[in-house]
């Protein structure tokens, strides 16, 4: 496979994740998010995990999260009501870093 522009999802598929199926480490309040005009999360998440669904609502999948914390820092309207690191052993596991 040679070098080319890759979608975020494809890049994430190269990483090693241990997904916590029982507990989401980031939780949004959909109502706050739907009122948020800025929606910085759509741009600043390096994994592009924040998306607009067909109703214009934010949808978010914590499974590919790189745990960088950018969304937490940039969420000015506080739609992110919970941001924690995943429980021990869960989440991203960098093999190179």
């Amino acid at each position: 496979m040679s070098i080319r522009i890759m979608e975020a999802a494809e890049l994430l598929s190269l990483n090693k994740f241990n997904i916590d199926e029982e507990q989401a480490h980031i939780v949004l309040d959909k109502e706050i998010c739907s009122r948020c005009q800025d929606k910085p999360c759509l741009l600043v998440c390096p994994a592009a995990l924040y998306r607009l669904d067909k109703n214009g609502d934010i949808s978010f999948d914590y499974a590919g999260c790189l745990e960088c914390g950018t969304c937490r820092v940039m969420c000015i309207n506080r739609g992110i009501i919970k941001w924690e690191y995943p429980r021990g052993t869960f989440g991203i596991s960098y093999r190179y870093g």
């Binding site: 496979m1 040679s2 070098i3 080319r4 522009i5 890759m6 975020a8 890049l11 994430l12 190269l14 990483n15 241990n18 800025d38 910085p40 759509l42 741009l43 600043v44 998440c45 390096p46 994994a47 592009a48 790189l66 745990e67 960088c68 914390g69 950018t70 937490r72 820092v73 940039m74 924690e84 690191y85 995943p86 429980r87 021990g88 052993t89 989440g91 991203i92 596991s93 960098y94 093999r95 190179y96 870093g97």
Partner: protein, 430 residues
Amino acid sequence: MGEENQFDAIVVGAGPAGLACSYLLAKAGKAVLVIERGDAPGAKNVTGGRIYSYALNLLDKDLVDDVAWERKVSHEEIMIINGKRSITMDYHDPSLTEGDESTQSYTILRAVFDQWMADKAEEMGAMVVCGIRVDDMIQREGKVVGVIAGEDEMYAEIVIAADGVNSLMAQKAGLIPDIKKETVGVGVKEVIDLPAKTIEERFKLSQNEGSARMILGCTQGIHGGGFLYTNRESISLGCVFMPQEIVQHGIQIHDIFQELKMHPAIYRLIQDGETVEYSAHLVSEAGFQGMPARLYKEGLLLVGDSAGLVINTGYSIRGMDLALLSGIAAARAILGETDLSQIGPAYLAELEKICLLPTMRLSVGYNQLLEIPRIYSNYPQLAIGVMQRLYQVDGQIPQNFKKQVMEAINESGLTVWQMLKDGLKGVRSI
């Protein structure tokens, strides 16, 4: 150790800062517990990156001989990009790979390096436990006396918060407020596998040599820049952005970075390679001004990224060496001070002595310089514009040099007045 204390010290986070501290404490016979939330040391950590060897030398001279490094940096490169054109300056000093171990720098990968450091700390007797997330601290009468992880409570005479840039420990202790968005950059990186021989040919390296490259003008005008480091059999290519400006420009981080990968001057360095990992991490960008006002409270010390210890001068970035220094300073304070309430002030004194705080103070000017927005668009365009005119021979009567430069200045959207002001600011700030 007090009666209820299970440990002399509990270190939260198995990165360079926490492990340097643990290494020295354990070496001095202290009972040290290191708690890491990743399933191995380094599993949650990302670097550009390179580490400066003087700090490892200071930690323990014996360590320097078998550091888990990738390549020794002997090529320091600065690249300026505008459109498809680019300028690369390559400063080569072959002596940097031989002789004096205290002035070298190594490219590293954190999953490898942090594991190596953890092994060394364990050899000294530290206990490194992975896969456990510390949820909170136990505080009594304003003093930190231990940590809580799930249903477990663990007590120690001192707790060291080495939990990184997004330090929830420091926040819970009330030492720092929530991170301000102006003070952090977000870095993204791909690790691209390539055979060692290919890397050596493309970067003109001998067997152990490596190169470190900073890239300016690759961020679509956004405050930030690219980086490229050669590892033994891979290349670390990445970009750092101020997230606030990402929003103002309305561009997605991932898209700008993918474009950098395909830039003709970058692509030829990585072509035929295979991306094996995509990572992202926050990095403190505010230098001395981004540091917490207080680096300790009774029973708790902040080290490494938790203490905001990063210096970005534009031509080099330092973080891991500063992390090591702070870990060393913390250990020295703990070992040298018998009065528990005085460890915090002793830590500050050690940070001064080890030259860390004086170095951080000097970073203030660089940050002012890097705040000039024109550095990220107009100036790269100007540099490329001058080169383009200088080397273009088309059979027409050439214009004199001064006129060509003026043309390039106009084209870049700068004015001589603005350049004078920026130049003055530059000279004053550094």
